[in-house]
């Protein structure tokens, strides 16, 4: 269980994190979604006690991070896989963490095995690791103490498709065993495929949160046809609102508040062949996310 309550971080005039509140529950994977620079990493660093909050609180299993007696055994944190001493071997990185947590030495080999780092790779120094290998090593460090809670910042970065699939299964399994998983990403799809709950953040503020079903639910209809202009006119004539999914690309189709049946009927009466007709689920979240990303980019420009 992770609880952020009215968390705020101010750098001079800039509000990096602006009254962020949400809860990541046990048994569920919570996705923390936002464009780059939205305040995800800062929020997670505050949670892990690395950055002092300006105001607000963050708790892990009901306690402030600093009050955890041996944090690695209750919460596994991976904030930046590249933050390792380049001159240390992979195995030695795990040995240091294992000794800090007072765990048996065999745990290191178990973790190397779990994240598929071969004995040969474990002997190499971290400077010679690819980003994917560092990501695996970071996951191994986070999982070492068998913690109930996992916090991972952009864990899919640098992993190949098979690695991403493997990590997804690992995190799903952790939640299935009653663990709490909070992971951040700037990719909507990444969060969609793994998360049970989603928190969307933009410019330091939480702009949406709920279960995946709630956030993806959309009553509207998505329809694609070759003759986009004619279909638009026909739907509008029938009194429905219509908009292009992507204003620049007619082939992306139309979104309308007409139901599936009504849209089909309108197309039939207009004698228009359809290429696709389905519920617009997820479109709302995608629109919001694109809007956020665009706003953030404008802000930065």
């Amino acid at each position: 269980m992770i609880e952020l309550l009215e968390l705020t971080k101010r750098y001079g005039e800039h509000l990096a994190v602006d009254h962020v509140s949400f809860t990541a529950r046990p048994g569920r994977v919570t996705g923390f979604l936002g464009p780059n620079g939205a305040g995800k990493s800062t929020s997670l660093r505050i949670l892990a006690g690395l950055t002092p909050a300006t105001t607000g609180t963050a708790t892990v299993l009901g306690r402030r991070y600093a009050d955890l007696p041996d944090p690695g055994r209750e919460i596994g944190v991976l904030l930046d896989a590249s933050a390792q001493h380049a001159g240390r071997t992979g195995r030695e990185v795990l040995r240091v963490a294992q000794e800090t947590m007072g765990l048996p030495r065999a745990r290191v080999e178990e973790m190397l095995d779990l994240v598929s780092l071969t004995p040969e790779e474990a002997k190499r120094r971290v400077r010679d690791y690819s980003l994917g290998m560092r990501q695996r090593l970071g996951l191994a460090t986070a999982l070492l103490g068998d913690p109930a809670v996992l916090v991972l910042d952009e864990p899919a970065n640098g992993l190949d498709p098979a690695g991403i699939r493997w990590m997804r299964d690992l995190l799903r399994d952790h939640a299935a065993r009653g663990g709490t998983v909070l992971l951040s990403s700037h990719l909507l799809h990444e969060i969609e495929v793994i998360a049970d709950d989603i928190v969307v953040i933009g410019q330091g503020r939480v702009v949406a949160q709920g279960t995946k079903e709630e956030l993806l639910h959309d009553d509207r209809t998505l329809v694609r046809a070759a003759e986009v202009g004619t279909l638009t006119a026909a739907l509008q004539q029938a009194g429905w609102t219509v908009e292009r999914v992507d204003p620049a690309d007619p082939a992306a189709g139309l979104r309308t508040d007409a139901s599936l049946a009504v849209t089909g009927q309108v197309a039939l009466e207009a004698r228009l062949p359809l290429l696709e007709l389905r519920a617009a689920d997820g479109a709302g979240l995608e629109e919001m996310f694109l809007q956020l990303t665009a706003d953030t980019q404008r802000e930065a420009a």
Binding site: L68, T100, A148
Partner: protein
């Protein structure tokens, strides 16, 4: 009477099912001895750490060899060996202390260190104790290598072995090196960057010493003041020419307060509150 209790065997055979993480007791706190052990390990488990440790022995041996080869016969005494061996130690030992602190920032390992041990003061305390241990052990190793050099050198020259350093002189040299190591440690804590702290240490030891020496030679008022404000001066005296007087120890105390204790206190205070990125 409750009849809904699960049998022990059922509970034990299902450790990996739902809520195996629920209601686990909190682990015991991390003992300080464990931090000491981990921090000591981190000093020497990297390639650079390994070489720094090895160089304590290697450079002591090279310095001793230089005395054997090039010193005039009547100067093959323990004092010459101790002096020669002490020069590389005055650099290596503080560098070990500096990197033990700054690598947490320059190599960004602090992200892991301080998430595993959120009480940064405890990590810093463990690092301080270890820096002192390394300083003393390093000096003992150097002293032994120097002693071996003295035995070998005298034997090669066919002269009597001369032990011209008293126990109190040796104690003073160890203290001087410990203070040097603490200066390096302090710079690491204050600057939190390997290159800045390393350069800072060299500037402090070499450039600043030259400047204050010149100033004292030119300005009599500074020459009078120097023993009370110049830590290089009071610390350097421990190597040669210190006097076991209350005034000297007071000067050493005042200058260490000024150059060591105060900056270390301010640096530590800032480090505990800084952002680890």
């Amino acid at each position: 009477m409750s009849t809904t209790l699960t049998t022990p065997s059922a509970a034990a055979s299902a450790p990996a099912t739902a809520s195996s993480y629920a209601d686990r007791p909190a682990p015991p706190p991390i003992p300080f001895a464990r931090l000491l052990k981990v921090e000591m390990r981190k000093m020497f488990d990297t390639r650079s750490g390994l070489w720094l440790m090895a160089s304590v022995g290697i450079l002591s041996a090279l310095a001793s060899a230089a005395v054997v080869l090039w010193a005039p016969e009547d100067e093959v005494t323990y004092g010459s060996f101790a002096g020669a061996v002490g020069i590389p130690m005055a650099i290596i030992l503080p560098v070990i202390a500096i990197l033990s602190v700054t690598s947490e920032w320059s190599q960004r390992t602090g992200l892991t260190t301080f998430t595993l041990v959120p009480h940064r003061g405890r990590v810093l305390a463990a690092k301080t104790v270890n820096a002192l241990v390394v300083a003393v052990v390093g000096m003992l190793v150097a002293a032994v290598v120097g002693a071996l050099g003295n035995l070998v050198g005298s034997a090669l020259n066919g002269t009597d072995v001369v032990w011209d350093i008293s126990v109190s002189d040796f104690g003073a040299i160890v203290l001087a090196n410990v203070l040097g190591v603490l200066i390096g440690f302090m710079l690491g804590v204050v600057l939190r960057s390997s290159p800045a702290a390393l350069v800072g240490y060299l500037v402090y030891v070499y450039v600043l010493t030259g400047l204050t020496f010149t100033l004292a030679a030119a300005q009599p008022w500074f020459a009078d003041l120097q023993p009370w404000v110049d830590f290089n001066y009071t610390q350097g005296a421990l190597f040669e020419g210190w006097s076991n007087t209350g005034e000297y120890w007071a000067q050493l105390g005042v200058t260490s307060l000024l150059w060591l204790v105060l900056p270390l206190a301010v640096g530590s205070w800032r480090m505990l509150r800084s952002e680890v990125k």
